[in-house]
């Protein structure tokens, strides 16, 4: 069983706050654990996958939310 992902709600917050809070949340979960980031700043669409690449964390994907914004899924790789 994989534990439930930590959810980080950054709706309404502009960059770089979503990336800052994502970084903190990833650092707080166990290795292998995952984080779901909710954000509606368009910059997050670029910055979240790039941050994962820079920090060697696993970017699991992103989905548009019906209510607006996106949900990004990231797994702590190390």
């Amino acid at each position: 069983m994989t534990p439930a992902a930590t959810v980080v709600d950054c709706l309404g917050l502009s960059c770089p706050i979503p990336v800052i809070r994502l970084a903190k949340a990833v650092a707080a979960v166990e290795v292998g654990g995952s984080v779901e980031l909710l954000a509606d700043d368009p910059g997050a669409r670029v910055d979240v996958p790039v941050w994962c690449r820079l920090k060697d964390q696993e970017f699991l994907g992103q989905q548009e939310r019906e209510e607006g914004g996106w949900v990004f899924r990231v797994r702590r790789a190390h």
Binding site: C10, G12, V19, I20, R21, P42, V46, D47, V50
Partner: protein, 395 residues
């Protein structure tokens, strides 16, 4: 007005605009005291005409063009608009354009505006260094392509583009090439023939000339309809009286720059290396220097976890002027199209670009101020995030 607490202003934004070159200032003042409409026939007007013709020859010579290929404009934006829109207006069957994804908005926006008139626009992406892949560009060119637009060097990260390859790709299909050379004229060697450009746009205030002046070089292959309509000046390609004092000053600046630029570039390249070496010591800073060929005077980087505008304002308070490419502000919600196309971090972006007289002390002062400014902002962001958590999250 800002009141720097650190003495003199340190201007590190040469890629936005440059001060007037002393020889351009002298030429401008002289030309301002004179007057005369070059389109009239009496003595004063004929003297103005001769001066305008002389400038046209000298500007043409500086970029390897013929005098009658030069159209004087109000700047780089007008030159690019005239190239894209003017060519489209004169086009008959060709209804397709190819543009690099990291072109300046003065190229991108007129190209995109043509879509409403039945044109098709293909945008070609870039690699992590901001460079267009020439093979991908070549594959995008078709038999009905009218124009390929590729900048000489990028305005945000300084990447020099494969212009000659783009010219070959365009010409293989009978299409034309527009080169936006606003970042390179007066800095790097620019020669129409060598680049393979059919059209080339330049802006005086980027090479130590006055603002409000620029030019488009358009070879005979490029049939243009004017965008500004009125009289028949500039061989019917641009109506309105020429800004003769501006043109005289631009010509003086351009020729001064042809002499100065080569030695200056070597010096500025070393300064840029010194800055990059210093940036390596600041945690979580990503320097955008992956491209092998770049502008010598420009260093672009992203500071993770920091808002670009906040950093810019903090540096301004210390008397340091830089540009931030990130646009996480209320007026534009979209991130920098250049950094996004590169797949680079779009927040916290800073562009440092040196004037010709910059020296080691400029770099040292910048590196003296930056780390503390970054640390302060990161600490504040941390407190912000905690405040959000305490108040039970946003919204």
């Amino acid at each position: 007005m800002n009141s720097p607490d650190d003495g003199q202003e340190l201007y590190l934004d040469a890629a936005s605009t440059t001060p007037l070159h002393p020889s351009a200032r002298e030429a401008l003042v002289r030309a301002l005291t004179d007057y005369g409409d070059p389109a009239r026939l009496y003595g004063r007007a004929r003297r103005a005409r001769l001066l305008l013709d002389r400038c046209r020859e000298r500007v043409a010579a500086a970029v390897g063009a013929r005098a009658d290929e030069i159209v004087f404009t109000s700047g780089g934006t007008e030159a690019a608009n005239l190239a894209v829109t003017g060519l489209a207006r004169a086009a008959r069957r060709r209804r397709h354009l190819v543009v690099g994804a990291v072109e300046h908005t003065a190229v991108l926006n007129p190209a995109r505006a043509l879509v409403a008139q039945g044109f098709e626009v293909t945008e070609v992406g870039v690699d992590g260094g901001g460079r267009v892949d020439p093979a991908e560009l070549a594959a995008a060119v078709r038999d009905d392509t009218l124009l390929v637009c590729l900048q000489h060097a990028n305005q945000e990260v300084g990447t020099v583009q494969p212009v000659r390859e783009a010219a070959a790709a365009a010409h293989a299909h009978g299409a034309l090439l527009l080169v936006d050379a606003c970042q390179t004229v007066g800095r790097l060697p620019v020669d129409l023939g060598e680049l393979g450009a059919d059209l080339l746009a330049a802006s005086a205030h980027k090479f130590y000339g006055p603002p409000g002046t620029g030019f488009l070089a358009a070879t005979r292959n490029a049939r243009l309809r004017p965008v500004l309509l009125g009289d028949e000046r500039e061989r019917r390609r641009r109506a309105g009286m020429e800004n003769l004092p501006g043109i005289v000053a631009m010509t003086a600046a351009l020729h001064a720059r042809l002499d100065e630029a080569p030695a200056e570039n070597q010096r500025l390249r070393r300064l840029a290396d010194r800055l990059r070496a210093g940036l390596a010591a600041v945690p979580d800073v990503v320097v955008h220097d992956q491209a092998s060929e770049r502008l010598p005077h420009l260093v672009a980087f992203s500071v993770l976890y920091v808002e670009g505008e906040a950093l810019l304002l903090l540096l301004d308070a210390k008397g340091i002027a830089v540009h931030s490419g990130s646009s996480c502000t209320a007026d534009t919600q979209e991130p920098s199209h250049v950094l996004a196309a590169m797949g680079a971090i779009t927040h916290g972006s800073v562009r440092v670009s040196f004037l010709g007289d910059a020296d080691d002390t400029a770099v040292d002062r910048f590196l003296d101020v930056l780390p503390a400014a970054v640390a302060d902002l990161r600490e504040m962001a941390d407190l912000d995030a905690q405040a959000v958590e305490r108040s039970g999250g946003p919204g």
